[in-house]
Symmetry: C2
Subunit: 686 residues, 2 copies
């Protein structure tokens, strides 16, 4: 329950504030003072009379009513302190820096719970425990350094780890990235990352609030909440990037089926981020680079001009952009010739625009102006400008400063000489700009931004899916485990997914009649054993009734055989759809071409159910083998629209049947007209 | 012709040296003086009597004999100056900083040529023109900043671009990377990157010389020379990394055939680097990070311990290492328990070893000692150590300093707090260490290092290849273009590559007799048209002689038909081998599974002919679909040894038949026993 007292306290008490700035209690007071906190700052410390020039209360009893308390005292003293302050002093927000709670011991977890109960009882906000604190432009209630530049349009940064937050800030301050708020949620006992996002979403004011959110996440406690509020904020115009650390552990998880092995929990994170429209980052460097990109006007296209006074970095940047599917289009024509005539001989304007090492600030200004006003089809401008140490760069960087303010197209400053031109870069940053010191790191981060889709529609596609009947079928199934082909058939039917004509029976004559009806050739499969082909339980291309009789008799001898399924034999391209239920996330749906594409090449893409048509198309089109689906080299493709439809319908079915923990349809047979499911398995846990 | 006068001049004259340190002539003199040059420094400048405290000669005539001349005068004055100095003053090494030569105009190219001719005539070394110069620990003959730390075991850095060299040095000094020499070769008129490598290779002294070379390359003028000397240096114990800028332009190159389109010139670079054992980098940041890795002892395995006092970066590092195929093995057992008991409660030792934010320098020391001495199966140690700003890190970094000197296992220091702990990091670097400020950037660079193979054997595998006959067949072929199937057949036979039995003829009876002999079914293909299937010139599965007669008559009607080829029809897995001649590089050989694997999935790997068996196996095993070749899920694989043999033999054939500009064998049919070529095309240009 984030409140005014937490965000904008009129008064703060630091419980455990001290004179020793090498300890958290002292450093926190120092940060509050040097951060220019304008409310009333109070301190409780039984052993001191004055701390850093501030009069000290020896005990909570003496304290006047206060808005926010920051606790920097031993864990076991916290519950009582919180109780006293909330009950007697009207404190309605707590930041607990202290460690030694649930992250360490069972006793600690109990202490923690008492604090949460107290806070909930009094309607008080609680950040922590075990965190570095919270800072915004009103109050710097953190004990750590560095303190970044803070202003309203800076980044809102929420971190699940305090030390990592510090290191991310280190990476940010060097780039000039400004912040609006920094939240270290620690053990997240009352307020976690998802709750902060919820607050920001529900109270969003596009004029007042920052539009940039960066997250460092170790555990996604509430995926639905994260998805809902992140997606909602992005739809309101925000831009969000996040690291989810721990992507590799998932690799070791065992899973009972094929689909299970592919749909690791990391693919759940991946699918969640894509669905929400969150840019996924994997390092501190990447997160802060994306943060800097977010401070610039949003890109309206993929065509970039590069203005440089050094050839090499321009070429490396071009390489990296091209690798990421972004363009550095050739610039030519009379206006290009005109610019060339205004630069030194030997300059190149064909993009990269190389104004040469001897290029002046005026040349830089001209080149930017031509990109902004004259050259067609340019969406943004990169400027690479360093120095071999002969002259200072104040003038050139002042040109860059003015052009960034003036131009409508985003300008990405790449200033590589952090050592030789340190003071000039610092002055440039002090004017409110960011700097990307390595052009390839920038291009890689930009690629990651550009390939992140818009948030998916939160609506569920219900058309053609019979939800009441799904619930009725699920209700009827007894026990857990793989369900019978008839039930699979029924559930797919409820979702309107077409299936190959088939009949399951233990009656030979009935099966023969069915085969006559649908027409030979047919396929026969034993019913009962799970891994049918391993026990010789599949016979393809049965052309006559006598062949069918023979196979029926043979299969009924297989151990566990309960009957035989006869299907019409079809031909077509094999497709695959699978799904796995990931606790808390819901169903991860996978699609791909069947056979070796899934099994050997692992060419599958994933999405989080329920899926929209846009998401289904995006999944299909991100397959490496997509060309085969589209059709290639004279070979006809498959009906992509129907494939998307089946993916969407299946995802809706799963949304209403969370008892299905694992399933696959493998294969579906597809041609340019139709797609039908041939074989499917579902495992249920109620 | 690199010589003593260039590397260790007893005397240097700066022609155009001045007092204005904002111009190259002044900055260069300043750098020589502040670099502590111990030889005799002279200056020629008609307008000054003294420059930066040094007596000036107004004209070359007055100059005593001098070893090295650095020219910082207008381009058109250079040729005469060089002539005078070489002829009259015994100057045997020139560094020409001046620009305005071949890089700008035709006249400039002529001036340049006159200089080269003079230098060659007098046996003088020439660096440039159009460069920032050359620096080593003896003389800093560059006009630029920054000047990195220089010592004997630092990096030898050779750059094809001066401005880029400056920016790479910027990225290096921040990391503490030391240099032994920096070469800016400019227009490379006499000495290019390859020549510097050749000199280093031919004069290599493992005791005296640096073992680390970094290259920034824009054009590979002599791929053979680069390959030979880079490979040779690496075999002598050196480690080389390089950027080749301009990898994306290649994408736009048109090529007449399928193979041509895949084997772009960038894949030639890729293949060359792999063959030489050069670690390929794509950014300044990556190159300098790899350079820093090279300063540490070489890795002997892929198992890493992570010692950290912050959880998050340890997790992100683990993720990034796992993604790159490197391991962070679980540490457990009595010795792990012992370490845990020595750390603060709540520490983790299971790897990452988290000594907690409160962990002391002693804890750091202990954790490193356990990784070095007690924990089995650890090849290297990462140490992540920053600060939230409470205490200074001098003590902790001193522990790290001592452990790096003491331990046999490489220790990678990750010190993230460049801002808050700036002075501590600087002191650490001043003791001769490097720093990786971002753990994921390090892991990515390390992955690149670990996946670079050892240099390939320079020997050509001749066994089973009939070179004289290859030359005889090539000599016999008239004209350019696609050659006849008979000639293709003959050439493959010379290389000992097995082919499906086939006969080309325009005589129907002869073909029928052949089909009877090899046995039906057979395949018939028209001979003449290049794209046979597009004109209906292929018929599969011909089972009778009357069917063959019908197809023969039909095919002979196709425009351009010269005859019909009949082959035995075989079954098996389709494989592909192709090659393309890349000017200056030689043949790029591609391999992969045929059909959609090549055409849609672009799953091919490449190597530079001639290929060793090791290289061929490495190519095959780096295919995404390698599992299919090895055999998977009950499906038999194909004979990998024979596939490698065919790749090696074909590459030898191509080495002796550079007239073959493009070729492919598509498909080869393979099973677990045999591989035979079914169809092949070759295009020759003499």
């Amino acid at each position: 329950m984030i409140n005014r007292q937490l965000l904008h306290p009129e008064s703060i008490v630091v419980v455990g504030g001290s004179n020793n700035v090498h300890k958290p209690g002292g450093a926190l007071v120092r940060n509050l003072i040097s951060g220019g906190y304008k409310g009333t700052l109070r301190i409780i410390n039984p052993k001191e009379d004055e701390v850093q020039g501030i009069k000290v209360f020896h005990d909570a009893g003496e304290l006047p009513p206060t808005d926010l308390a920051v606790l920097v005292i031993p864990a076991k003293m916290c519950p009582e302190s919180v109780e006293t302050l909330a009950r007697d002093k009207g404190v309605r927000a707590f930041i607990i820096i202290s460690a030694g709670f649930g992250e360490e011991t069972k006793e600690g977890a109990e202490l923690e719970q008492r604090i949460v109960d107290t806070c909930d009882k009094y309607g008080a906000a609680l950040i922590g425990p075990n965190c570095i604190g919270l800072m915004n432009s009103w109050h710097h209630s953190v004990f750590t350094k560095p303190i970044p530049t803070l202003h309203d349009k800076g980044v809102d940064f929420i971190s699940g780890s305090g030390a990592t937050a510090v290191f991310i800030l280190e990476s940010a301050v060097i780039k000039g990235l400004p912040f609006n708020s920094v939240w270290s949620v620690g053990n997240s006992k009352q307020i976690g990352i998802e709750d902060v996002l919820q607050y920001m979403d529900e109270n969003f004011d596009p004029e007042r609030d920052s539009h940039i959110k960066l997250l460092y996440i170790e555990n996604i406690n509430n995926p639905d909440k994260l998805l809902f509020h992140a997606g909602s904020l992005i739809r309101k115009g925000c831009r969000i990037a996040a690291i989810k650390a721990g992507s590799s552990e998932s690799g070791s998880r065992a899973a009972s089926s094929h689909t299970g092995a592919i749909a690791s929990s990391d693919s759940a994170v991946e699918a969640l981020f894509r669905k929400a429209g969150i840019v996924r980052c994997f390092s501190r460097e990447e997160l802060t680079t994306v943060g800097c990109i977010f401070t610039l006007p949003p890109l309206t296209g993929r065509n970039f001009a590069i203005v440089t006074h050094a050839g090499g970095p321009g070429v490396m940047l071009t390489d990296a952009l091209s690798k990421g599917g972004l363009n550095v289009p050739k610039i030519e024509g009379p206006e290009a010739d005109e610019l060339k005539s205004l630069l030194f001989p030997g300059s190149s304007v064909s993009n990269p625009i190389d104004i040469l090492a001897t290029g002046t600030p005026e040349h830089l200004s001209l080149a930017i102006d031509y990109c902004e006003h004259k050259f067609k089809g340019i969406d943004a401008i990169f400027v690479i400008f360093g120095t071999p140490g002969l002259v200072q760069l104040y003038e050139a960087y002042d040109v860059l400063h003015k052009k960034i303010l003036e131009c409508k197209k985003p300008i990405f400053p790449i200033l590589p000489c952090l050592h030789t031109a340190g003071p000039e870069v610092a002055e440039f940053l002090s004017k409110g700009h960011v700097n990307f010191s390595d052009e390839v790191t920038l291009a890689t981060a930009l690629t990651q931004v550009m390939k992140t889709p818009r948030p998916a529609s939160p609506e569920i596609e219900l058309f053609g899916v019979d939800v009441p009947r799904i619930r009725e079928v699920i209700g009827r199934i007894e026990g857990n485990g793989y369900i019978s082909p008839e039930h699979v058939h029924e559930l797919l039917e409820c979702a309107g997914i077409p299936m190959v004509p088939e009949l399951v029976s233990a009656d030979k004559a009935e099966l023969e009649a069915f085969a006559e009806k649908v027409g030979y050739p047919v396929v026969a499969k034993v019913v009962g054993p799970v891994h049918k082909s391993d026990v010789g339980g599949v016979a393809l291309n049965i052309k006559t009734s006598s062949q069918l009789e023979y196979e029926f008799d043979r299969m009924m001898q297989i151990e566990g055989a309960k009957g035989v399924m006869v299907q019409k034999m079809l031909r077509g391209r094999e497709l695959f759809i699978g799904a796995k239920y990931e606790p808390r996330f819901g169903h991860i749906v996978l699609c791909g071409l069947g056979g070796i594409f899934v099994e050997v090449l692992k060419d599958v893409s994933s999405g989080l159910a329920p899926l929209s048509y846009d998401e289904a198309y995006s999944m299909i089109r991100s397959l490496r083998a997509y060309k085969i689906i589209r059709g290639t080299r004279g070979q006809k493709g498959v009906n992509e629209k129907k494939y998307a439809e089946i993916i969407v319908r299946l995802s809706t079915l799963l949304r209403f049947a969370t008892e299905i923990k694992e399933m696959d349809i493998n294969p579906l047979l597809a041609d340019e007209n139709d797609i039908v499911a041939v074989d499917a398995r579902m495992r249920i846990e109620k």
